[in-house]
């Protein structure tokens, strides 16, 4: 039975699974690191203990999330070779240095200064500690820069030539790194990470307010998160729109799939909902708004929008996944903007921190950023199929000479291990949230609290120190 398994499909599922799992963690830590830097800066500036206490609660959650991000990320850096060696061979000259720079400029920086950030409280000055937090935050952004540049190059490749041996050779590094979709993808993703963090923090703050615990800490959390919702969520809509227009220019088939449009037409309608049918080449039960799609994409009600039938069947992405993921992402984005608007109204009515239903609302939106990030990546990654390097190398031609059986087993192992390990991670994060922030006088004996854990008697009994 196992020998009938399609190695290409299995390799794709395995990569989709491991990369989807991984992106959850950076999506959170990119935003969290920046927020922690802001908190520590507020603390040093104002001297208010409350910021330090919020910092010390969230830095523990940061540590757990970051750890999971590291271990799930190491897997990816090897999977390019274990599962996509055809791709590594053909694209290595172009993409290799980008990933190399990610390690050299970001990973070492993050890993080294994370140690000081977590364990260095009593060993370095407050300023040096703050510097470490900032360095870690900058490190996460540098990392995002390189990996999104590499991903964007696979979407919109340029700055290379095809050698006689069929391999790709770089001709301009600036063109490679700053390829057409990169600036849009970078801004869109980093903003998404900030919003993901903001809504997670908001949800936790709302939970404390709802339970009437840690009120003053919760106000800091919810308040700062709502600043993001008010100002950044609308910007994200703009960035997303610009990113979409860029995609229309370079990957029109992806946009056709996002819109569920099959026929090329002028004055194309916006399909709100429907069931795209790949076989029948139509979107069934479509609820349409006339001409709106043309307006959004071409900024003219009679602009021409290309439909999927422009491309041969074997060059079309799986439409339904792209179509629905796009709607989930946009829907959550709109909910986030609505949250900002409501928060603004409540703020002026001076009811932001004691409106019961708004607390439920924020709690319900706690995981929204993660869902939107995943949905967004589904749109962009599934939407570029069947290509791994757009227009150049098909996914099916990029695989490794590895048996389907091997991949089936490794995929199963990944599913089981990830479910167990990351399930435990979420459990510990929830426990940390349940415990909440501690006042600095009573706090003792954990990450970044009082004495650093490296010297703390974690076994508890005191007893003989000289073990």
């Amino acid at each position: 039975m196992l020998s009938n398994l399609d190695p290409v499909l299995l390799a794709r599922i395995q990569f989709a699974f491991t990369v989807s799992f991984h992106i959850i963690f950076p999506a959170f830590t990119i935003g969290l690191a920046s927020w922690l830097a802001v908190l520590e800066w507020r603390w040093l500036k104002t001297g208010k203990q409350i910021y330090a206490e919020v910092y010390r609660m969230w830095v523990k959650i940061f540590a757990v999330t970051f750890g999971m991000g590291v271990v799930s990320g190491v897997v990816l850096s090897f999977q390019f070779g274990t599962n996509w060696s055809g791709f590594s061979d053909v694209g290595g000259n172009v993409l290799g240095p980008l990933l190399g720079y990610e390690v050299l400029t970001a990973f070492f920086l993050e890993a080294s200064f994370l140690g000081i950030m977590l364990f260095g409280w009593n060993r370095v000055s407050p300023k040096m500690h703050f510097a470490s937090t900032v360095i870690v935050a900058v490190g996460t952004l540098i990392s995002a820069f390189w990996i999104l540049s590499a991903n964007s190059w696979m979407q919109t490749p340029q700055g290379f030539r095809i050698g006689q041996d069929g391999l790709l050779y770089p001709t301009s590094w600036l063109a490679v790194i700053f390829n057409p979709s990169f600036p849009f993808r970078f801004v869109h993703m980093v903003t998404a990470a900030y919003l993901t963090t903001a809504f997670t923090v908001a949800g936790v703050g709302a939970y404390y307010l709802w339970r009437k615990r840690h009120i003053s800490h919760a106000r800091v959390m919810l308040g700062m998160a709502m600043i993001m919702a008010i100002f950044v969520a609308p910007l994200q809509l703009l960035y997303g729109d610009l990113h979409g227009l860029n995609t229309l220019e370079h990957q029109p088939a992806k946009v056709a799939a996002m819109e569920g449009l099959w026929e090329t037409q002028r004055g194309a309608p916006l399909i709100l909902f429907g069931l795209p049918d790949q076989e029948a080449e139509t979107t069934k039960y479509a609820i349409k708004i006339p001409k709106l799609s043309s307006f959004i994409l071409t900024h003219s009600f009679d602009g021409e929008v290309k439909g999927l039938k422009e491309w041969p069947k074997d060059e079309r992405p799986p439409v339904a996944v792209v179509f629905w993921s796009f709607r989930i992402m946009v829907g959550i984005g709109l909910l986030m903007i609505a949250t900002g608007v409501i928060a603004l109204i409540l703020h002026f009515k001076k009811r932001l921190f004691d409106t019961r239903w708004f607390q439920y609302w924020c709690m319900a939106l706690t995981p929204s950023g993660f869902v939107a990030v995943l949905a967004g990546w589904f749109v962009t990654e599934v939407g570029r199929q069947p290509w791994i390097v757009y227009g150049l190398l098909r996914t099916a031609d990029a695989t490794s000479p590895v048996l389907g059986t091997s991949i089936a087993i490794s995929l199963t192992a990944f599913v089981i291990v990830y479910a167990f390990v990351f399930g435990a991670g979420i459990y510990y994060i929830l426990k940390l949230i349940g415990k909440g922030p501690e006042s600095l006088e009573t706090a003792y004996g954990d990450h970044g609290i009082g004495k650093p854990p490296i010297v703390t008697d974690l076994a508890g009994e005191g007893g003989k120190q000289n073990v």
Partner: protein, 339 residues
Amino acid sequence: MFSLENIVNLPMIWYALIFTAVFLYILLDGFDLGVGVLFPFAPSDKCRDRMMNSIAPFWDGNETWLILGGGGLFAAFPLAYSVMMPALYIPVIVMLLGLIFRGVAFEFRFKATRNHVKIWDYAFHFGSLVTAFMQGMIIGAIVQGIEVEGRRFAGGAFDWLNAYSVMTGIAVVFGYGLLGSTWLIMKTDGETQNWARKSASYTVLYVAIFLAIVSISMPIMNEQIRTRWFTLPNLFYLVPIPTASLLLLIAIWRDIHSNREVRPFLMSFGVFLTGYIGIAISMWPYIVPFKITFNQAAAAPESQSLLLVGTVILLPMILAYTGYCYYIFRGKASHEAHY
């Protein structure tokens, strides 16, 4: 386009750099993996806490060298990367799973309640053990050679698995055990240090035995290696390497049984260095033994040039701030408990 091709021998520099990155990985993650290997044998839970704390600020940085090794191989020798990873599919995946368990154990263990701590103790130990064993098997498989046709791996799913690679797997487990125990001699005292000295004296014996087996077997198994080591005048130049290993092992043995604290650790580095140089000499000039040389696998000169510029600038900085972190967390893991 920018290229250093005509100024320096790019493939050779990168060959050296990749070997260096992998070596630094083996040394640095070696000692914290070694601590994981020794973990359940420690005399008390308190010892285990100290052991864990002694490496907690460093493990992530140490593991980054593995990513540099993998990423660097991809960047500088994409052909070697795309041949070796499929060839070593199973051990690489198992190693990655091992790294997951031990990596998360650091954070989870600090957060866990008493009865959960045991789970993460075992995750840490078995994760480290499996990782070390797989890395040893990977080395064993590589030195035996890899089947290649054209630009692709052409062997079977289990080519890497044989008695020899099992032996090298066990060898690396003991090697990391030596690094881990000498690290603990340096970073702890009292009961933990006494136990670490005992562990070191066992592991150093096994390391000596395995080093001897590998040194003797590699020339027997492969004619190229035999010719390289046992023809004149090579022999004269190369004899100092195994001699140095032997002297270092003896010195470690003496130091463990004296009150030296730092030197055993540094000399364990030395033993690894001599062993590693020995392997590197045997592999030269191959990057996929014994099919693809580093020149054949080299990425385009433009690619190697770009990353070389970054490496020349960034690597000293990385080493500097890594050193700074070790300096910040210097001293005994347990002494600080007094203040």
